[in-house]
Symmetry: C2
Subunit: 343 residues, 2 copies
DNA sequence: TTCGTGAGTGTTACCGTTCTCATCGTGGTC
DNA sequence: GACCACGATGAGAACGGTAACACTCACGAA
């Protein structure tokens, strides 16, 4: 910068003004500085800027060290939006969604002076860990359960401390369950996800609630995981039960496993059993049969999270309660669901 | 740091020595400084350190803004290895794998003072863009085609300029094709990926080469993409042709589409047609039928890339030719392949 | 004329480290 | 006893920007 200043015959401060688009610079001077910058191939040093301003123009993302479809897509949504806003994105992953690792990840990001953090926070431990963020470091949580509405969203839940963005999982489950009931199924079984994930729990809740409201029997739920292997296990159990005519799966990968288990047991989908997924992964339209599923727009979720973070950063602690954005999912009808057969 | 120095009754320089584990500090002094650091909850400011040392302890990753299974998994492999080596990882994605966007991504990372860059570089344009990296910025490319062996790997290809890590795609395709021929299939058809991706092309090459060596007919190849929709299109064509008894798919998602097309056309897998995939995605064992496929260890690829980058960073431009690591894939046998039926 | 005002510019300090070099004991060597 | 090497420490100058403030005009109002 000193060299640029010398070449342009101005002070380094004027160069700084040009770089930062400060209005009070004569057009001719600006031009001269720009020319000097070009000819010296000048690039401003962000480390120095960070040191002086305490703004790194870098955002941190805390993610789960596993390739789950949702988090991935969000990462891209966030990154591309961040790029547009002039931020670079740094990633810190955790092998386990518990307090300690998340805090370490946060410390690592904080040490690198990130201006804000977006945590992909499917489990409550992540949110509580976020509570210990250094003062002044803006955080947003994305994913997880639906915030409890009304006065019940008490202290300590995190929802009253951080802006959050999430999909209305319960609503998605309701949509899907309702759809199956409307097709004439007496009740709907559920191939659940891991019970300690609020997202999975919210889907259970939405499902159970809908059955209850319809006066249908609520079948028992067994704990699972998010992949096809777990879905297959659950599917074998469900396929063996002749009462089962409709299954809501906690995500598409589970549905894939269920589909396979049904097939192996000679239960045709959708003729004998209807199956619904959750997520709408890019290929679920090519399952056998193409999967009716609840669509979540993860990229949009990422963009919303970024927007929220940026807003939160610009007006730190204004006393207003944090925003909790909830995105509505919708049901994609394909051919894995059909009216219940007459027996 | 000044505060810590004052509290410990030493100079800031001594604090710096303690922080950096410099040997020449009396044990008792070190202890006093550490105590002061603890009581003031001191954390060193990385921006200042970066400014002084020109080392940011941050690595950049250039990725493709699409959720493809491989790149995802590599990201995690790299990140977790980088963490172990004391680096933070920043991500810059590109919407398009051409020169301009990649260069912009690189500039963005360079401006943030990354110490090195790992580019997920499935297309040659990425590598040529890397050629324009600022001097002294270490780069490693991961993915893409197999480096040409022997003197043919001429100038300009990039392989002679950057360390690279990749899976031997041609070998994987050979493995799979050989397997199908060994099962008695007269020839093997190929549901290809995008022809402008060297990885897809290398798979075509390995496949064609094996057929040729076996004296089998080499069926024509039509261009595709990496997803199930494209696989379905190709699958419909293949299913309509009674000559087709074995299909090698350029990846598992394509295989999913092919499987579905076969099913719709009444061609049973594996009884009538054998199908092999490529990648070994976590759920491909739950396709119908479970997919025989070529396994790639993406996480390992990421780790290797990081190791290479670190080595490259520590001894810049030693004149030695860059290393090109090639990882061998292996074939996972499941039930989508079977001996050819007698007709 | 005199003064205030605001645009355009320069001066100096400061952000929190590390680097280079100087200083001061201390003990071993000749 | 003089000399030297070395361990332990400190002082000051970078590193490359931005912030705060001072200064100089030109111009319009009092």
């Amino acid at each position: 910068m000193r060299d640029v200043a010398k070449l342009a015959g101005v002070s380094h401060q004027t160069v700084s003004r040009v770089v930062n688009d400060h209005p009070n610079v004569r057009a001719e001077t600006r031009e001269r500085v720009l020319a000097a910058m070009r000819s010296l191939n000048y690039r401003r040093n962000l480390a120095a800027r960070t040191l002086a301003t305490r703004e790194s123009h870098t955002l941190g993302i805390i993610g789960f060290e596993t390739t789950l479809f949702g988090p991935e897509s969000m990462l891209y949504g966030i990154e591309s939006a961040a790029r547009g806003a002039g931020y670079l994105v740094s990633v810190a992953t955790v092998r386990e969604l518990s307090h300690r690792p998340v805090r370490e990840a946060m410390d690592r990001l904080a040490q690198h002076d990130v201006d804000g953090i977006i945590a992909i926070a499917p489990k409550p431990a992540v949110i509580t860990a976020l509570t210990h963020a250094p003062a002044g470091l803006a955080c947003v949580a994305v994913g997880g359960a639906n915030p409890v509405v009304g006065p019940a969203s008490g202290a300590g839940s995190g929802f009253d401390q951080f802006p959050t963005v999430r999909v209305d999982n319960a609503a998605g489950a309701r949509l899907a369950t309702r759809h199956l009931l409307d097709l004439g199924h007496a009740t709907v079984h559920h191939a659940a996800g891991p019970p300690d994930w609020p997202e999975a729990q919210a889907r259970v809740d939405g499902w159970r609630e809908t059955l209850y409201a319809a006066g249908a029997v609520v079948p028992p739920v067994t704990p699972g995981w998010w992949d096809a292997a777990a879905g297959y296990e659950q599917g074998r159990r469900l396929a063996a039960d002749p009462e089962v005519t409709a299954v809501l799966c906690a995500n598409d990968r589970i549905a894939l496993g269920v589909l396979r288990a049904m097939h192996e047991n000679g239960r045709r989908v959708p003729e004998d059993v209807s199956v619904v997924g959750f997520d709408d992964m890019p290929d679920s339209g090519y399952f056998m049969p193409p999967l009716t599923t609840v669509h979540q727009d993860f990229a949009e979720l990422g963009r919303r999270a970024l927007a929220l973070l940026l807003r939160h950063m610009s007006r730190p602690d204004d006393g207003a309660p944090p925003e909790n954005v909830v995105v509505a999912p919708d049901l994609i009808l394909r051919t894995s669901t059909a009216p219940r057969k007459n027996r």
